[in-house]
């Protein structure tokens, strides 16, 4: 693979179709700058600021954009509110659609057959694979991202976090909790 891809890049560079420095910058962007830490900041603010939470749920792209996260694979973002009665989970059964500006590039499992096939038919089984057991009466809503709308789950703020700053709250927000395959960390799992 390495040899084949190197040959491809050499041809495209020689022809002037791509600039290797631009390639490096694209990689660096998604390896270092864009990732779930962006989404965690959005969620922490939604937990601490009721006005922002309302805005986020009403117009995800605008509220998220106000924190500087927008663009490719997040042109239309919708935030989904978890409550004690409703749990949201996001999948792309057709490929790998994912809100890049807030979560970065998707993990391998999100793009894999096991997740794409089962999330829409047996989400409780999928949650068990992640070690999550929801109460039987909790309704589950699965969102299959089949067009260009990208979904971000707003998990429930953990109890015992009164008075925490946004920076401290963000440490509780895991990537999986924003996809809906996990829950936020508990306060005792992080250092403030």
């Amino acid at each position: 693979m390495q040899v084949r891809v190197r040959a491809l890049e050499s041809v495209l560079v020689e022809k002037g179709y791509v600039d290797p420095a631009a390639l490096d910058l694209l990689i660096e962007t998604y390896e270092t700058r864009v990732g779930p830490h962006n989404g965690a900041r959005v969620i922490a603010k939604a937990w601490s600021d009721p006005e922002f939470r309302r805005w986020l749920l009403a117009d995800g792209s605008a509220a998220i954009g106000s924190l500087g996260y927008a663009g490719r694979q997040g042109e239309n973002m919708v935030a989904l509110e978890n409550t004690p009665r409703v749990h949201n989970m996001v999948v792309c059964t057709l490929c790998s659609c994912y809100p890049w500006p807030v979560l970065g590039l998707p993990p391998v499992w999100y793009k894999s057959g096991p997740y794409r096939s089962r999330a829409v038919a047996d989400p409780r089984g999928v949650l068990r694979d992640f070690g999550v057991e929801l109460a039987p009466e909790v309704k589950i809503r699965v969102w299959d991202s089949t067009a260009e709308v990208r979904y971000l789950v707003v998990p429930i703020r953990p109890e015992g976090t009164d008075g925490w700053t946004d920076g401290e709250l963000a440490r509780l927000v895991t990537r999986d909790s924003m996809i809906g395959t996990g829950l936020p960390k508990r306060p005792q799992e992080v250092s403030r």
Partner: protein, 220 residues
């Protein structure tokens, strides 16, 4: 097309296995394939819908046999070959053998941030009235095109409820094939699990898809 990419409801894949502390890429070639795909996309020689179709429209055994970025590589090579931008012989030789073609633009380093920040919005402000309203019951059409579509098989023929309307968006089914953007209303349609999976399904489950208007008809 009814390809291997349409995985919703397929049995036998096994448990979801998550890697702890997973890196963004697992090999250097994955990094380069990712960046080459984005950079070639930025030339304007094709769009995201054509790119998706190139990845998906391959024999199911091949699709399932390849890793994610191997599929991206196969899709990219196919688009380059179809447009005469790079031939198989060149990819084997690793150097230019055919005259280069004039392309839209080459993505330059100073433009990367703006390119990513802009993205490729698919919203189109067209004066087309929406056929369906929130709360309407609709049936996903039983269509089986050989061409690109974003209507998964597991909802075809099933009845659901419109829960959101997102305005008009580029229609992937035409756009992927160079047949124009043909913007269409896009809706979120929610289906009860019983409707999708039968009487034994999880009664607490609802599944939604985002469906373009041509995918839908009024429920009988």
């Amino acid at each position: 097309m009814n390809g291997a990419q349409d995985m919703g409801g397929v049995h036998g894949f096994g448990a979801v296995v998550a890697e702890s502390d997973e890196p963004v890429f697992h090999a250097d070639w994955e990094r380069r394939v990712f960046a080459l795909t984005l950079a070639m996309g930025a030339t304007g020689e094709w769009d995201l819908d054509a790119s998706r179709f190139a990845r998906e429209n391959r024999p199911p055994d091949e699709y399932l046999d390849k890793s994610y970025y191997e599929i991206w590589l196969a899709g990219l090579e196919q688009l380059l070959a179809e447009r005469g931008l790079a031939t198989e012989a060149e990819l084997t030789a690793g150097r230019e053998l055919e005259p280069r073609k004039r392309i839209g633009k080459t993505l330059a380093p100073p433009d990367v941030a703006a390119e990513l920040g802009r993205g490729s919005p698919t919203n189109r402000d067209v004066p087309r009235p929406a056929t369906f309203q929130i709360g309407d019951r609709v049936r996903a059409r039983n269509i089986n095109p050989l061409s690109h579509t974003r209507l998964p098989r597991y909802v075809r023929g099933r009845i659901g409820t419109i829960t959101a309307a997102h305005g008009c968006h580029v229609f992937p089914d035409t756009n992927a094939h160079g047949l124009g953007e043909e913007p269409q209303w896009l809706y979120t349609v929610s289906f009860d699990a019983h409707e999708l999976w039968g009487p034994d399904a999880d009664a607490t489950l609802a599944v939604s898809v985002d469906a373009f208007e041509p995918y839908l008809e009024p429920a009988p």
